[in-house]
């Protein structure tokens, strides 16, 4: 049998209460006692039982992290930084992926309500965090990106419209006027916002906002490629494309390459997110970087704050930044001018 605190106490000739204090609250016992208990614990290989501790102190020091997936190139950096920050703050993370069967959602909702975690970090705003928590979560919840405005859940996010704005402005400043947009999955808040941001930016710049220049790429490679093909079939093809994420942008560039269309000579691309995808594309992809690692840590800090009783803070909005790389260039006319 694993030794318990009682064994340690007996060995050290003190009560379990003292043994407990000697190990976890050293200032409350005399020097000699502390040493005796420590030695007893070491000599019998005592290890605390965290489950018992959790039951007693009503804390698990564990966070549940729900991500839609992990093979998406957007999430790994986020998840890593969450894990890193959580660990530094004394929390372990249980991870769950939610874009699978409903079975998953239910299982995790169960974990949440059954007191096995102290808080929830959702990255899957998708169609509402209340699927996991109910309308009035009795557990601290923080959401990362993809804000759902209907709920009052604190969020760490970026200004998604600004993402689009930076991209469109960059292209416009290079002389592009026919700027297309390949948008992301319709159920994602970020995708909707980026599309709106694109429209707004185009309008502000006095550029034509044609419906045919906006195609839905559904956020993935195949959709991006298909959308690009449609754009290339237009009577008057765009000279630049802003894609709602890097994955689609890379796929779109590949379509161009396959057809002998030169990037950025014939057409320019800007992606969004700032994933590694674009870094290794050819040409390397200009993108609007979304600081995922920082979002991860900030979200954990926020969540831990809530758990520890801090008042709900306003949304955290992180800055985005344009990363100018090889995939966009001034229009020929701009060059000629």
């Amino acid at each position: 049998m694993r030794p318990t605190l009682a064994d340690v106490a007996k060995l050290a000739g003190v009560s379990v209460a003292t043994a407990s204090r000697a190990l976890s609250n050293p200032d409350l016992v005399a020097d000699g006692t502390r040493r005796a208990v420590r030695e007893a614990a070491a000599s019998c290989g005592y290890k605390i039982n965290l489950v018992a501790r959790s039951l007693r102190i009503q804390r698990t020091d564990t966070l549940l992290v729900l991500a839609p997936c992990i093979d998406n190139s957007f999430y790994p950096a986020l998840v890593r930084s969450i894990e890193d920050t959580a660990l530094a703050m004394g929390y372990a993370i249980i991870i769950g992926f939610t874009n699978k069967a409903d079975r998953h959602r239910e299982a995790y909702a169960e974990l949440l309500s059954a007191g096995r975690v102290d808080g929830l970090l959702v990255m899957d705003g998708g169609s509402g965090v209340d699927r996991f928590t109910g309308p009035q979560p009795d557990l601290p919840v923080v959401q990362v990106f993809d804000k759902i405005y209907e709920t009052q859940v604190p969020v760490v996010r970026v200004d998604e419209q600004q993402v689009a704005d930076l991209a469109v402005h960059q292209l416009a400043s290079m002389g592009h006027r026919r700027i297309a947009h390949i948008s992301g999955a319709a159920d994602r808040h970020s995708a909707r916002e980026r599309r709106e941001g694109y429209r707004a930016a185009m309008a502000r710049l006095g550029l034509p906002v044609e419906d045919q220049l906006v195609k839905n790429g559904h956020g993935h490679r195949e959709g991006g490629a298909e959308a690009m093909k449609q754009l290339l079939e237009l009577p008057l093809a765009p000279t630049a494309v802003f894609c709602a994420n890097d994955t689609m942008a890379c796929a779109a560039m590949d379509v161009c390459r396959d057809r002998g269309i030169h990037v950025p000579g014939d057409i320019s691309f800007i992606g969004a997110d700032g994933t590694a995808d674009g870094l290794f594309a050819f040409p390397s992809l200009t993108t609007v970087n979304v600081p995922r690692a920082e979002a991860g840590s900030r979200a954990v800090e926020k969540l831990v704050g809530l758990i520890r009783g801090q008042a709900v803070m306003p949304d955290t909005v992180l800055p985005v930044e344009l990363k100018l790389r090889g995939s966009c260039a001034p229009t020929r006319t701009a060059v000629a001018a």
Copy 2:
């Protein structure tokens, strides 16, 4: 206050023992009683406290999964399948990344020894699973890939030498004789085995095994690119390269493209692992697929088996498979012949 079983019992007019049974062991109570308890539970919003349950039954139904990282394109599929299978078998997973500071290792070793998980799944064979478990783990452990022969830990893996063998044979069958190898991180078992497998296959085929044709790419893009550059500077450059993973293969192909060397016309490539990297490369990368998703489920099944008291089974060795894609072609001389 959250209602407890005692509240439910009082509400239903039975003892807590009966309430407990009615909810978790329904055959042991009479029909009417069961219904009454169920209704009482529902009416007061009772949710079981899993921590208390865990303490009592001495199980946590949680697994610790340690991965070196997640942004590596190799691991996501593995982690997802682990999560999926674990959930289906009634386990949650705590995930930890171990290629960070030692702080991480220690924290997770603590979790392990403190009874917060029922078992451990390690993907980071790196320099020995005993860093986490000590020489005699008192907890079930299963390792995925990267077997460490010194320890007696059951493992789910592939035949890494066969990975190399399939690649070399394919290239040789296309007429290649000067086949180079870009190897992976020296501390990884898979990398060492693949290099040995390359040597053995070359020798068996009677092909020259020159030290200068073997470069260390350290498993990552930069290393792969650098290794490729060195290979191209050889007096007699190789006509084909087997890379120990897809990431390096893609980087190596990019180097060729930048220098105007045509793939597969001038030089052929085969990678290994079967990650999405190679699928979207140009040309798409021939690779030796390592069934990561299946390895994940098998590992979980094995681990849960151990937890439930099954005897230790022999290693599980999964089959690998060559995926022929656009990055390799017969040599010019072979074509001419």
